[in-house]
Symmetry: D2
Subunit: 462 residues, 4 copies
């Protein structure tokens, strides 16, 4: 499962471009496929975008050429668009009747295809396949006079997840969809407003976190002033913050949806210990996402926490996989067990989720080979049964093992001695909230609105 | 002076992509800044574009991935668009209401800015700054039903030079503007129609030259059939084939405007010899463009032809220029004289044109240092006095030495013993035609239609 | 502090090259500057070496071209040689009287300069500046007939650390210096003997760890047979295994010197808790090397372990540092605290060592800014007071804060509420051994033999 | 056929590195595989070398880092060494007893293997496979005290072609072998002595040609003084300047062996016209090397010279060759005929040599397809029958069509109407010399000394 974007923006700062670089750097975990920065000096928007990690896309010569006082940036991992077209790398920069505009978008629209078809119907031309391009067209198409009105005109037509940064030569605008699927935070650095998907970006540049951009809120920064607007109908949209951000995507040192990811993630672990206790000698995480819930489980259960699996952090996209003739290297490239620790032990292993089950099975086999006497798997979220249409790269329902197997069957498949998932109620409670705040569709199929059949069908075919 | 594009297209050939690669390769002289190929398998248009020479942009892995039976390609040297934006590399590929379309364009529109403003007025969005993007928008905007009618709708609004290849998932269309500024040839390879800026591309792939696409003609290849249409008002557009293609741009082994470039270029030299005879010992060219007219001059005058200046063909964009402290390397990086040949000789040196005069002066000084007793410069075209608005990269009028200096003054400035330009009449005659066929505006300022003042002003500011 | 090499070798395996690639991959933490593999098919040694990480140096095309049944590989971080010369990338491959030979070396010779001078005196020619080149010359210079005797002839002249793999077209030889400074392990994969700096390389390829190459041992693999020899005088060399490997360098999932790094590192933490207890609310590590001792400290003290600092694993060499005008980004690029966890807490922070003290100070300030009420620093090794001459990249004595400051002074400098170092005795005990097994010179200055003054002087000048 | 090196050196110039860059640039035609520059500031020799053209190997950042007052450079096309090892890129830089030394070598030693074996016998170690490394070892091995004596000690043992530049931290030394196979020129730039393979390098930097380094001469530049020495036995070595340099390798604007290449090459053409006249309509060259002899042929015969074949100068190593399924692109990638010129004509086509005959056949077929009525091939050198052991990359005797076919047979094979080779006597006369000056072994097999059988055998196996 892979989340697909990180966004960052800053207004009126002489080092806007460099801070955006740092912000993207801190948000690298949200998208490793491509990166881009657009910046304006008040007259002209310049930009640089390419495939690769932030640190390889941007050289100091590139940063020097991108001068400007307002900048937005984007990290991307593609789920909706064809990943190999340079036309899809964000921010998208266009010129139109009233000047230039740059857009960086995190999320996934459910009605993008429908909107796109309508736009094409009306004569719009598309270069790439991103939702962002749809949004840009809608803005430009609006008959309204003021940019803000155009933007609202466009946004009310969108259905789905969008945490959006829009930049013109004078303004920086941050928007979060009325459901609030994806996080978007607002901070302040030396008097400059800054926006980021997660607060870890603020920490790196030394900015202060102020508050979240609210679901349905449009924050316009212009002429040094900050104004806030609310999208109409926002109150009719059930708040649907993606609880999976807490489970897996967000960095543990970030605050999102107003809460510490570390705290919530550990609470998941504590609750999991209460719901699924088991006698064992050690608790170990599948690093990195399992570390914090494993700490919670350990503290609640009193069973010692150990780093029983060591992760190799040099694994990259360029790793050369062995021929099939060779033994299955598989998960070993990433994870290696500590036999001395596991030998003869009853082991509880904590992971954030099970997708297909194959990796869990490999890990459990590896732990047994390293000497574990018993392996009890505990998952810090409920069974993932339904696809996400809002920006998380889930496989089709067919491939989600939990969508067509019972917990017992999964336990057997992954060859665990026992398997326990965090309950949905437990999860919501641990997140300190209630069902009305979060989207839990991937666990219970309750999408905040009806998903068009065409989108479902497309998801099935993936 | 630099011409700005080469185009190539081929229909219904299993090796369409590779032949397009070869075609661009043969047309490399028409644009060395970027290259691109778009190809369709009938369902989807794929493409690859990048900065660089054809041979560095396309690796075999790239060619393999670009499968298709129809393909178009483009080499580019930018004059109108900002050269550094990847959004400007052609072919442009877009999707719109009725599918996908790819466009490759050679030429320069005089009313591009005006059209662009109108389009933006009506809500169009632009990613780059090329004329091609304007054309694409006009096509899509048309209310007509059939693609051909849309295309015609768009084309009749264009003023200026366009030799155009348009590809959809089913069709390949070739168009030449009603004035016929830029060349565009049609050929045939194993039954597949092929189009190219110059016939040298046909020679490389073994295609047979059939005829030129006529000024104002639209050739549609679809379902294996070739249909020809004529743009309305074509007969009212004075035929304005760019005579400078013969002077400088086209490869001597090409046929353009139905004539052999080699033949015409040599006829220029012969005529030059008649118009400006001088007693001398040898005739030498400034290679490469001066070689053929120098042969003509030599044959007409009976004065022996010699390669008195040797060109270093390894000169590339990446050559590191010396600090100003060092002596002026200047033209020597490209050209080196043969002292043994020049020593004590009266030399006629043939070049195709004089732009600013500085290079000519350096060459003449170099020849004298190498021992030449007299240096007589002969130019195989008339004095270049006026800017080109149709796709040739001329400097502003200010910088064109002939626009504000007499031939005598130029002769003195370049330090020649004598200077002779081919007369306009002589040129036209040598080209075997008459004034009504060619655009000679860069020599006599007689543009085939009024140039908008805004365009003139913009050209002045360059 | 940076260790400088990892080595890997495998004999008689059809996938020797790919396994060596994997082995280097697992040993990436031991050297990230350059990587190389040499392989032989029995007739000819081929090789490929370049600057960069294993995964960027080796493409699959490179691996395919490097065929062979015996292979050795090397990762490098330079301490002695000039890091920027490609002539220094290992393995070194040479041809000489009796054929070809490849050498990969982990360690640092104390008498390399002296030997080099003598060799030059006798007519030797050097291409680079590595110790390995010295070793190669000594081997070739030997008057002995058999390769093994030549090798021994060379080795007895070496003083210092060397874990060495030597490959000819028929043999693979592994050697560890008589003091045993650096680790070198022997394993077996499908009947093929394998050697690696650490066992984590065996785990990745599925090889079985057999035993360490003993200090002073020479293992020759040839014709399918394994023979073991002992360097003369080995028993007179005090065993001096680098205890810093346990503290910092080795991967926690490796076994070196016959012991689990994880176990020893955790025992350091437990012992540290006994030696320097303090009342506190949480124990947090400086990741990654502080994690395991922090677990030990936590378990011994009963104070909860938390991941109070999150590490960004995308930090690479190419990170663009800010201008000095900007605020100090410093350690924040790598580490970010969890304020919710630290707020109002008394924090024990565990690191493996303190070099200059500046990083510790930054971390402590960061923790306080994040809300920590008290910060107690605990170091899982004794004060680092003396430079290492055996392959660890320590700064000069001047720069080692502990070499000229008391613990109290350091505590004050790093602005900790308290500071406690593991005692040397405690460390040795925790390592389950006794002083006669380990080199502890960096802590107590007791080098296993006299360091030539010239080497000391050179180290001072660094 | 490809020559294999160009060398350049300059002493005591503040821009030594940049001038060396320019020098190599001008000598690019002598080797396009790799390039390198070594420079000294009087204390330390730095260097940079890589595969590729001069303009791609050297970036301005590289040139800036390579400071120095003495510099030597080298372009390479490999014939003897394995071309793919970076250890073979020159200049070779080594350190030895008395300091550092850099060596750049153009030529090929006949006894390199034998010397190498002896050196290895005595304990020498080799990193690559170049002759230059052998020379370096011989220098260092010498028991003599002074560097010059060491050098001479080494040189007297060499048999074969070597135009050599040797640089220490204080000296620049130029040597030409006693036979004088390869050219080496001496010039002067602002008081700085400069050396280059050909004078075209002097022209580019504005240096004055002074004279050739004489066969057997050693020129030492040190402390601002120039001293000349003669190798013993030089007078017993028959002068053997490579006449093929005139035929093909040298640039026509160079002077080598004291003569203008242009003059000699044209004289070849004139003589060829006398020896093999034929009634025809036009004379055309195979560009580029056939241009000058074709001019000579034309002037002598009175038959008009035309550029009937146009060369595409963008052809590079990276050109993607077509699959075999496609038609043979072959020579067309490089050459394209002018049909208008050839149609119905009797054509004399001039090339410098015929190696295998396949290219000639393709050219002749191409000319006929373009309409030529008759094609008469004239070669501006005698039949190439014997391999070169002195630095020219000839195929084995087997593959040299002239070594086992009569002129008539060749004529038939290449499908020419007639074929005429320049006679050996004619060639020597045209070169204004006599047999005692030139090596003509590739034409008549008269090598200046006996070629060791082992070398012959090795050449056969190629």
């Amino acid at each position: 499962m892979k989340e697909y974007c990180g966004v960052f923006g800053i207004y009126n700062n002489p080092n806007a471009v460099y801070y955006t670089y740092l912000g993207l750097y801190a948000l690298q975990h949200r998208g490793q496929e491509s990166a881009g920065i657009a910046a304006t000096d008040g007259n002209k928007i310049g930009y640089y975008r390419d495939f690769g990690l932030v640190s390889s896309v941007f050289k100091s010569s590139v940063l020097r050429e991108l001068s400007g006082f307002i900048a937005i940036g984007h990290n991307r991992y593609s789920t909706s668009g064809a990943s190999d077209s340079p036309d899809n790398i964000q921010p998208i920069v266009v010129s139109y009747k009233y000047g230039q505009m740059a857009v960086a978008h995190n999320g996934n629209l459910v009605n993008a295809l429908e909107l796109r078809e309508k736009l094409e119907e009306e004569g719009s031309i598309f270069r790439g396949t991103t939702d962002s391009e749809v949004i840009v067209h809608l803005i430009v198409k609006s008959k309204k006079k003021k940019f803000l009105d155009k933007l609202i005109d466009a946004l009310v037509r969108l259905k789905g997840a969008y945490s959006l940064l829009v930049m013109t030569n004078k303004k920086l605008i941050a928007v979060r969809d009325p459901w609030g699927f994806r996080p978007l935070c607002m901070g302040e650095l030396d008097g400059s407003p800054v926006f980021a998907s997660e607060t870890c970006a603020f920490d790196l540049i030394g900015a202060k976190y102020l508050r979240d951009v609210e679901p349905g809120e449009i924050i316009v920064v212009e002429n040094g002033a900050i104004s806030s607007y609310r999208l109409p109908e926002t109150e009719n949209c059930p708040r649907s913050q993606c609880i999976f951000e807490f489970v897996y995507f967000a960095r543990p040192d970030s605050k999102i949806f107003g809460k510490s990811v570390y705290d919530v993630r550990k609470a998941f672990g504590r609750r999991l210990a209460k719901e699924h206790p088991v006698e064992a000698d050690i608790v170990i995480p599948v690093p990195d996402s399992g570390v914090v819930p494993a700490l919670g489980y350990s503290q609640e259960s009193g069973i010692p926490f150990e780093m029983g699996l060591i992760r190799n952090h040099y694994v990259g996209r360029t790793f050369i996989k062995p021929d099939q003739k060779l033994r299955d290297i598989g998960v070993k490239v990433k994870l290696n067990p500590i036999p001395e620790l596991l030998e003869g032990k009853r082991v509880i292993v904590i992971d954030d989720s099970i997708v297909r089950g194959t990796t869990s099975r490999k890990i459990i086999r590896m732990l047994r080979e390293a000497g574990a006497k018993e392996v009890h798997m505990r998952i810090s979220s409920p069974p993932t049964k339904f696809p996400c249409y809002f920006g998380i790269d889930t496989p089709t329902k067919d491939q989600l093992i939990a969508s067509n197997h019972s917990v017992e069957e999964i336990c057997k498949y992954i060859e665990a001695d026992s398997l326990g998932y965090l309950s949905l109620e437990g999860m919501i409670e641990a997140a300190g909230g209630n069902f009305s705040e979060y989207c839990t569709a991937c666990f219970n199929g309750e999408y905040p609105f009806n998903i068009p059949e065409s989108v479902e069908r497309q998801a099935e075919k993936k």
